[in-house]
């Protein structure tokens, strides 16, 4: 490191040093030259990778598959940090994602390898573009589920859901909320390892802002009411509409890990239905769909719901019976699966199962036991990403159907800004 550094200094010393007393600050030219030639020891150039093709659109930038030039068998995913319209420099959302990814190191969380930069030059006004570089995962769950040739056995479904909950258990233990659970954000490697991805909307939910990263796994009282007293007021405009829990739709701002568990329930059901179970096209309709599945939203089943900001403003269907098991049984023959879903798709966030409880459910501990996905996936040599699916369809014929699924609501509520608290 030191040697790199001193070499760099030699490079620019001709222009900048010279007479000590003479050199005030660098001139613009000198500074540009300095930026162009300084070899940042901790931030490699993107040119060490070679782009293969675009595989997705994250919450703050495009994602590419790329090859490591020094090891052609190694593939990575590169996510561009969009900074074009940033009046306040490097986006706070990107900083959050980086910080959170640096903290989270777990088998079931996508691994951030490094952050790369493009060469600063005249062409980019001496401002580098940054990319987050991740281990490459071959598939995402939405892509897999949309391919009928991909068939999951019950044991394989259990493995997927178990890994999903394991990932959530880990991130919640580290006091991080994902806030954007959906099938497209669940990656699966060709060996069948599940990775939670896209922490672009994730947040720490502890008020302990003393900078203490909670590196050790601490069991949290996730299901006790006092838990909520420590949560700051967040924006409720998170989570893609179809996976958004009722508390967010009703304007709750003091929410916590249960928001991710609702999404996990939706994703779990999707393992059988193969498509999102509640495809509302407005917040109102989403609430209607939820009521039709989970029963009417009332203070009887959910004490305190009447105090939520939008409880009186939204039209909530009355006298709806809870039909979770009834409507899902045709898809899910397994009674344990139905029962677990019944505990995840619970209206009252305080009564919703947390990741730990869900992982202890009989579903995972009865035959057929969770089993490895690697073998099944070995039959599929092509990457399956949701992002790639519509364009393929468009290429065939059903152009009118190629509309993408909705993304996170911050997208829809144009002009809305995430409140920092």
């Amino acid at each position: 490191m030191q040697s790199n550094n001193s070499r760099d200094r030699e490079n620019h010393s001709s222009s900048s040093s010279g007479n000590h007393s003479h050199s005030v600050t660098m001139s613009m030219r000198e500074k540009e030259k300095y930026i162009e030639t300084f070899n940042f020891p901790f931030c490699d150039l993107t040119s060490k990778y070679e782009k293969v093709f675009k595989i997705g659109q994250g919450t703050f930038g495009e994602v590419f598959k790329a090859r490591d030039k020094s090891n052609p068998k190694k593939f990575v995913a590169m996510k561009k940090v969009l900074m074009d319209n940033e009046k306040e420099g490097f986006p706070i959302t990107a900083l959050r994602e980086i910080r959170i990814l640096q903290l989270l190191k777990h088998e079931n969380v996508v691994n951030l390898i490094e952050i790369c930069r493009t060469q600063a030059s005249q062409h980019n006004r001496y401002r580098s573009t940054f990319y987050l570089v991740f281990d490459f995962c071959e598939h995402d769950l939405a892509g897999l589920l949309s391919n009928v040739l991909v068939k999951f056995s019950l044991g394989e479904i259990k493995k997927v859901v178990q890994q999903l909950l394991n990932g959530l258990y880990y991130i919640h233990s580290n006091k991080i909320l994902h806030r954007d659970m959906k099938a497209a954000n669940v990656l699966i490697t060709k060996n069948g390892v599940l990775k939670l991805a896209d922490f672009g909307l994730a947040r720490a939910f502890s008020t302990n802002k003393s900078g203490m990263p909670n590196r050790q796994v601490i069991a949290l009282p996730l299901n006790c009411r006092c838990f909520y007293s420590v949560v700051s007021r967040f924006t409720n405009r998170v989570v893609t509409l179809w996976y958004r829990p009722p508390e967010l739709l009703l304007g709750e701002r003091n929410y916590g890990p249960p928001v991710d568990l609702w999404g996990a329930g939706c994703i779990m059901a999707e393992m059988w239905t193969r498509s999102p179970i509640m495809q509302g096209n407005s917040e109102q309709q989403q609430l209607t769909l939820i009521s039709q599945l989970c029963g009417s939203i009332t203070p009887q089943v959910w004490p305190g719901v009447e105090n939520l900001e939008l409880y009186k403003k939204m039209e909530l269907p009355q006298r709806q019976k809870r039909k979770v098991k009834e409507r899902l049984t045709p898809y899910l023959k397994d009674p344990y699966a139905c029962d677990l879903l019944d505990k995840l798709l619970v209206l009252d966030p305080l009564k919703r199962a947390d990741a730990d409880t869900a992982l202890n459910h009989d579903f995972f501990w009865t035959d057929p036991m969770p089993c490895d996905l690697g073998k099944m996936l070995a039959n599929h040599t092509q990457s399956m990403f949701e992002f790639l699916a519509p364009s393929r369809r468009a290429a065939t014929q059903m152009r009118h159907q190629s509309m993408p699924r909705p993304t996170t609501s911050a997208v829809q509520d144009s002009g809305y800004q995430d409140r920092v608290f």
């Binding site: 940042f40 490097f90 706070i92 900083l95 940054f130 949309s146 003393s210 498509s275 509309m403």
Partner: protein, 395 residues
């Protein structure tokens, strides 16, 4: 991959020193930049963690770049700007610049150039690359509170001691201690110092076992008395330095006069020997035992405070003057909760946080592919066929 800790020899061969800036001047530049971060941050009601994070970025930045290449006050603003975002207490760049400007002379502010905001924005990318995107920084404060909760004794005295230690931690930001030692060790050392000065002797603590000789043995290992005293000296030496106003200003500031300006003279020799702060040939890493003078070294060898250590109250003034009022002095921390800290006080979020979303498509209207009713149409039977689109079969 290096960590962010350096020995004293490395701290003397920085880019600035290789650029012809002598050690004392560099230390002064570091102090002045750190102070601007603290003063600007305090004025904007930023929390102590935000300011401390900004200062640590600042010190790390100058391990890779010279003060001649990057004028210190611009860098200071940039570090505070980034730290604000990282610590979830964001402030607008223009507001930080405005506040800093109110604290600087016009001459010093001239280093921000014609477009100060542009200057800070360009620098932010350089800063991020330099610090390896290592955004999360820990500070001694949290350890101070953690340790204090374990100490037994007179509550009032303990609180006074913690408050004094807190002030020392604030002041330690003006040194390069954060580049030398982990926050745990700095916290122990400065609590040790505060204990000595406030005459609070820790004789018992929660969790004590027979193998613990000192209370900190519970928390840190292999910390020698030499190390603790070296850390204390580095902080105490701040108070014995001569007024910075009497020293010639740095080259980066003297854009007009600079041509005739000789290199800064070292006028900061202090009564208790500034040189002692750094002994380049003898860096004491935690694990290496330096020849032990421990037995014959008096327990409290600070010449600066001859006679009885001054009462806490008298500390507030000398420290507050150069440092700006430390947040804790105004409202002392108590041991049950964190000190007046950073309640999340944000006036307005940056306006463009989600701007990139604005043009995204409207909500998806569910499409029902032929032959597969959506899951939720009334009384839907289980579809024979999933209604997601098919991939073309692999060829």
């Amino acid at each position: 991959m290096p960590g962010w800790y350096y020995d004293k020899k490395e701290l003397r061969s920085t880019p600035s020193s290789q650029d012809g800036i002598d050690y004392k001047t560099e230390m002064r530049y570091r102090k002045e930049g750190a102070r601007l971060i603290i003063d600007t941050g305090s004025k904007m009601d930023l929390g102590y963690n935000t300011m401390a994070t900004g200062v640590v970025y600042y010190h790390r930045f100058y391990m890779f770049h010279s003060f001649k290449q990057f004028p210190r006050y611009v860098t200071a603003c940039c570090c505070l700007f980034l730290a604000g975002k990282v610590e979830e207490t964001p402030k607008k760049c223009k507001d930080i610049i405005k506040t800093a400007r109110s604290l600087l002379t016009d001459q010093k502010f001239a280093t921000f150039g014609e477009d100060p905001k542009e200057e800070v924005m360009t620098l932010e990318r350089i800063l991020l690359q330099t610090i390896k995107f290592d955004l999360q920084v820990e500070h001694p404060y949290q350890y101070l509170l953690k340790y204090a909760k374990c100490l037994k004794g007179d509550k009032v005295k303990l609180q006074k001691m913690v408050q004094m230690a807190w002030t020392f931690v604030n002041d330690s930001l003006c040194t390069t201690l954060a580049l030398q030692w982990e926050p745990e060790i700095i916290a122990v050392a400065l609590m040790y110092l505060a204990g000595k000065l406030s005459k609070f002797e820790v004789v018992d603590w929660i969790g004590r076992t027979s193998k613990h000789i000192r209370w900190w043995d519970m928390f840190v290992e292999d910390v020698t008395m030499e190390l603790l005293e070296d850390i204390c000296h580095q902080v105490l030496d701040l108070y014995s330095q001569t007024d910075a106003n009497n020293t010639p200003d740095s080259p980066p500031l003297q854009s007009q006069k600079a041509t005739n300006q000789p290199p800064p003279v070292s006028t900061q020799r202090s009564s208790n020997g500034n040189e002692k702060v750094v002994s380049p040939d003898q860096p004491p890493p935690v694990n290496v035992k330096v020849p032990p003078p421990s037995s014959d070294v008096p327990p409290f060898p600070y010449q600066t405070f001859t006679g009885a250590p001054p009462p806490v109250a008298s500390y507030a003034t000398p420290f507050a003057a150069p440092m700006g009022a430390p947040p804790v002095v105004a409202a002392p921390p108590h041991l049950t909760g964190p000190p007046p800290g950073p309640p999340p006080h944000i006036t307005a979020p940056p306006p463009t946080v989600f701007s990139q979303y604005v043009n995204h498509p409207p909500p998806f209207t569910a499409v029902v592919p032929p032959g597969a009713p959506p899951f939720f149409s009334a009384n839907a039977p289980p579809p024979n066929q999933p209604h997601r689109p098919y991939y073309p079969p692999p060829t």
